[in-house]
């Protein structure tokens, strides 16, 4: 059978350097989904952009063929003239990108942007184009297409923007759609819905799809064929059930062991109530202008345990983290208590004098999300690690240096790295450095704000290992913020699920995952893509819980902004419900 697109021995390089993409080959058949999987720097995005030749200006295609079978004619896209290629782009082959906000022009109405494709490639009248675009909007699940047609991108949520992008890419009925990490910037529940949409579109229109992703869970849900890439080379490729069912290459195996999975708990463990609380948030609210980011949160972090807050963007979880560290003050009426040792008196972080604050800062530190921004590029590692000691005037220069070496060893790095600069390190190494810096003052409590979400999957697992390891070795307590239930299920002793500033359900992970009561929790669990083709995403459950709180089932619905109370469902298990 003639395949729709075949890429053969494609090599791409920057300047005079070694090729970044090396001898990559794959084929896509009509109506099939091919997944290009790999971590950052694997060359997956370059390979798929090479198909439409939208590469960065300094990159050149060194060798290889990209043959598109177009109604029986073979066209080599790698050597096609720019003018002819323009005829292909958007018409036969179209593309969607990772950041919907950045791929839509902010100054043009959505409808105009989408119908431009038709104006360019189809000789159709304005009214005809509008009719088609409205139909396409309806089709991609945008309610009220007329309103969307007139809207500007900023008026839409991320998920709706991505749907509009998909509409733009598919309105001309292309034969091949290239989706470059189409759901990475979206929330978990939105991701599930967009993936479902792509799958439906494909089934109905019969177009082929190249899906570029780092997430094996997404692959398992979508792909027919899989190409696993690493450092510019194809490691393994073949049909999805083979590659995912029994990975043969060590790299694929490594990816699989690292992929976050929501475990299936058979027996919910019964836990005793922990009495020794190191950090306690009481009725904490935070209002920015007219927006209530956090609404009456009460949480306890037991000593030596991990309390996790899970939620999507805008749920208020990061604000909670900042309030917990005193970096931001809560609205009057809220309190944050910190108890240094079981015997000590609790202090209220909201009302500290400068001396107490300085003291508290030594006991509680933060680990940040983005390892690329958490270390000053102008400071050597040794300076970054000794800075906290310097600020609090602890030890002599030599002692600080020794402490820095000790810290590096604690996080699994080599002391020879002391004199290096942060930009020489990979994301995972930098996250280790950032953890090492947080440990410098020998804190009792670490607030981890999405410490793994900017990292590659294989590195994610290592960082979680490290966090678990130092928790046990140094008897630390964590307040752990994440959007990913699978990550949380692994490390947390207790999980609070937040939505729109409120906790909707709270329980130890075993209880929560085995017996989720709240529709939103159920949606989050269902939306998590599992790297197993036999456990597809359950879109109905996602749809039931993912919407706004006033669309939830009666027992959980907020009416006029008033939420039902957080009730005890069983021991250690709280649910926000009327029932």
């Amino acid at each position: 059978m003639q395949s729709l697109l075949s890429v053969k021995d494609l090599s791409i390089g920057f300047g005079k350097n070694e090729p970044t993409v090396d001898q990559v080959s794959f084929t896509v058949n009509a109506g099939e989904t091919l997944a290009l999987v790999g971590e950052s720097g694997s060359g997956k995005t370059l390979s798929c952009r090479a198909i439409l030749r939208i590469l960065p200006s300094s990159a050149q295609i060194r060798s290889g063929q990209i043959v598109l079978n177009c109604r029986g004619n073979d066209i080599d896209l790698a050597n096609l003239s720019e003018r002819k290629l323009r005829g292909i782009r958007g018409d036969r082959v179209s593309m969607i990108f990772q950041e919907p906000m950045r791929s839509l022009s902010p100054l043009h109405r959505i409808g105009d942007q989408v119908s431009e494709v038709l104006k360019l490639h189809r000789d159709c009248s304005a009214s005809d184009a509008k009719r088609q675009v409205l139909a396409e909007f309806e089709y991609v699940g945008l309610n009220d297409p007329e309103r969307i047609y007139r809207a500007y991108p900023f008026e839409l949520s991320g998920g709706m923007q991505q749907r509009a992008m998909i509409a733009m890419a598919t309105v001309a009925k292309p034969e091949l759609l290239i989706a470059d990490e189409p759901t990475t910037a979206l929330d978990m529940t939105t991701q599930a819905q967009v993936l479902g949409l792509l799958k439906n579109l494909q089934a109905e229109s019969g177009m082929a799809l190249i899906l570029v992703t780092h997430d094996l869970g997404v692959v398992a849900n979508m792909a027919d064929q899989v190409v696993v890439m690493n450092k510019g080379r194809v490691m393994e490729s073949g049909s999805a059930d083979l590659v995912l069912g029994s990975p043969a290459h060590p790299y694929t195996k490594k990816l699989f062991t690292a992929a976050p999975v929501i475990p299936e708990f058979a027996q919910p463990a019964v836990q005793t109530e922990a009495a020794d609380i190191i950090l306690s948030l009481r009725e904490v609210s935070k209002t920015y202008g007219s927006i209530q980011a956090v609404n009456g949160i009460s949480l306890n972090v037991p000593r030596g345990k991990v309390m996790a807050i899970v939620g999507e963007s805008g749920s208020g979880k990061s604000t909670c983290a900042r309030i917990a560290l005193g970096a931001e003050s809560a609205d009057p009426g809220g309190h944050v208590f910190f108890r240094e040792s079981p015997e000590a008196d609790a202090i209220d972080i909201q009302s500290l004098n400068p001396v107490q604050r300085c003291d508290f800062q030594r006991k509680a530190q933060m680990v940040f999300q983005d390892p690329h921004s958490s270390l000053s590029p102008r400071m050597q590692i040794v300076d970054a690690l000794t800075e906290p000691l310097d600020i609090h005037s602890i030890g002599t220069a030599a002692e600080r240096r020794d402490r820095a070496i000790e810290l590096l060893e604690q996080v699994g790095l080599d002391p020879s790295m002391l004199r290096r600069y942060p930009h020489a390190f990979s994301g995972g190494q930098r996250q280790r450095l950032s953890i090492a810096r947080a440990l410098a003052l020998r804190p009792l409590l670490l607030v981890c704000d999405e410490p793994t979400s900017a990292l590659d999957v294989s590195v994610q697992a290592q960082i979680l290992d490290l966090l678990e390891d130092i928790r046990d070795r140094l008897q630390l307590s964590y307040l752990f913020i994440s959007h990913d239930l699978a990550v949380v299920a692994r490390i947390a002793d207790e999980v609070a699920v937040m939505r729109r500033g409120r906790i909707v359900e709270q329980a130890p992970p075993e209880l929560l995952l085995a017996n989720p009561r709240h529709p939103y929790t159920q949606a989050l669990i269902a939306a998590h893509p599992e790297p197993d083709i036999h456990r597809p995403i359950d879109l109905d459950t996602v749809a039931r819980g993912a919407g706004e709180p006033d669309t939830w089932p009666d027992a959980f619905r907020y009416t006029d902004g008033a939420a039902p109370p957080l009730k005890k469902y069983e021991a250690n298990h709280l649910v926000r419900t009327h029932a």
């Binding site: 933060m366 600020i391 020489a424």
Partner: protein, 384 residues
């Protein structure tokens, strides 16, 4: 490469799943950022050439008197408005070394002007390290040695002479001493004000920010030239040239800071959001420590680039003021003062060389712009 029996492709190059941990990911980025900036800047050829040109120009300043064949005030009453002369090496097909020809002035009584004729029969070889007009080397040591001069009653006016018979080339060199430094002094003033107000505005925000921003907007809305004129007119006319010079630089700096203050403020705002600044805050670092240890080092290079880009405005400002007769005044020598002579069209038409000081102005302004551009492009060495 191998194909498994079930039809899938496997790469069979050796692969070690545990290699990553201790390797450096980007060994090429393991250097202080000034090294990385320099590496990148080296590739910006135009910027590099401009940098070298400017460096040489500034290094030349203390030796201007030595390089110039005449002093700034030396007059040759017999050679008013003499045209540029060239230095030749060959005379009648024979090599005689660098020499000039004597020029003979003749009065053109019809047009009431001097015409100059070169006496090409006899070459006058140039003298080197010769005695000439007295000047101060580095502004300190009195000496009369010049790099080259024409012997006897021959002249060497490379760029011609002006209305009073002074050598334009020598005066350009002397003028550079003022014209090139006025920018530096001005930029110091504007740097001081700009960084000060910008960081106040960026760090504290709120009411202070509001006040400073409105002040900047008011300053920016004033028409620049009339304001300069008004301020310069306020400089007492009995002040000496040096005092006027400092005052002019100060005025230029006083009006130039808003741009820099804005750049500093916006950089401050964006750096405040960086995690490492937040981390330092959460470690308990004081605001002054955060500013000096974390924020300033990370935008000092931006400051230098924006300073480079605003020096040309200073130089042009001085030139414009002096050209209009409101900046530096004779007997001070600056490029603007020299151009003041070229103010009327008739003079330029008949004696085009009086406008030659435009050339160094253009070159220096372009060089600063190229240098600033080059620096700006190489400022972010971590981007690929």
């Amino acid at each position: 490469m191998s194909i498994l029996p079930d039809g899938r492709y496997i790469d069979d190059a050796p692969y070690d799943p545990d290699e990553e941990a201790l390797q450096l990911d980007h060994p090429e980025l393991d250097a202080p950022s000034w090294v990385l900036i320099w590496r990148r800047f080296k590739k910006h050829k135009l910027g590099l050439i401009s940098g070298v040109f400017l460096l040489l120009s500034y290094l030349m300043l203390p030796f201007a008197g030595f390089i110039a064949p005449y002093t700034a005030k030396e007059r040759d009453a017999n050679h008013l408005y003499a045209p540029p002369q060239s230095i030749s090496f060959m005379h009648e097909g024979k090599f005689v070394g660098p020499h000039v020809y004597k020029t003979i002035a003749a009065a053109d009584l019809e047009n009431f002007r001097w015409t100059y004729q070169q006496d090409e029969s006899k070459p006058v070889p140039l003298e080197f390290f010769c005695a000439g007009g007295e000047y101060r080397l580095f502004g300190l040591f009195k000496t009369d040695r010049h790099l080259f001069c024409a012997p006897g009653d021959a002249t060497i006016f490379l760029f011609g002479s002006d209305r009073l018979g002074r050598d334009v080339f020598s005066r350009i060199l002397y003028g550079a001493q003022l014209s090139l430094t006025v920018g530096l002094i001005g930029i110091c003033v504007s740097f001081f004000l700009g960084v000060g107000f910008g960081s106040l505005s960026g760090y504290f925000g709120g009411r202070i920010d509001w006040t400073i921003q409105r002040l900047i907007e008011i300053l920016r809305s004033l028409p620049e030239l009339p304001l300069w004129l008004a301020l310069s007119a306020a400089v007492p006319s009995h002040w000496g040239p040096v005092a006027v010079f400092f005052m002019i630089s100060f005025i230029l700096g006083l009006l130039d800071w808003p741009g820099l203050a804005r750049a500093v403020r916006s950089k401050f705002l964006s750096l405040r959001e960086e995690d490492y600044v937040q981390a330092a805050e959460m470690m308990g670092a004081t605001p002054s420590r955060i500013i000096t240890r974390h924020m300033l080092p990370n935008f000092s290079s931006h400051l230098i680039a924006s300073a480079m880009l605003s020096i040309p405005a200073m130089i042009l400002g001085e030139t414009a003021l002096s050209f209009l007769g409101l900046g530096l005044r004779a007997p001070a020598v600056s490029w603007g003062v020299m151009l003041n002579d070229a103010q009327n069209l008739a003079a330029i038409e008949i004696y085009p060389w009086t406008a030659i000081p435009m050339i160094p102005i253009i070159l220096v302004v372009l060089a600063f712009n190229f240098l600033g551009d080059g620096l700006r492009d190489s400022l972010d060495p971590y981007q690929t």
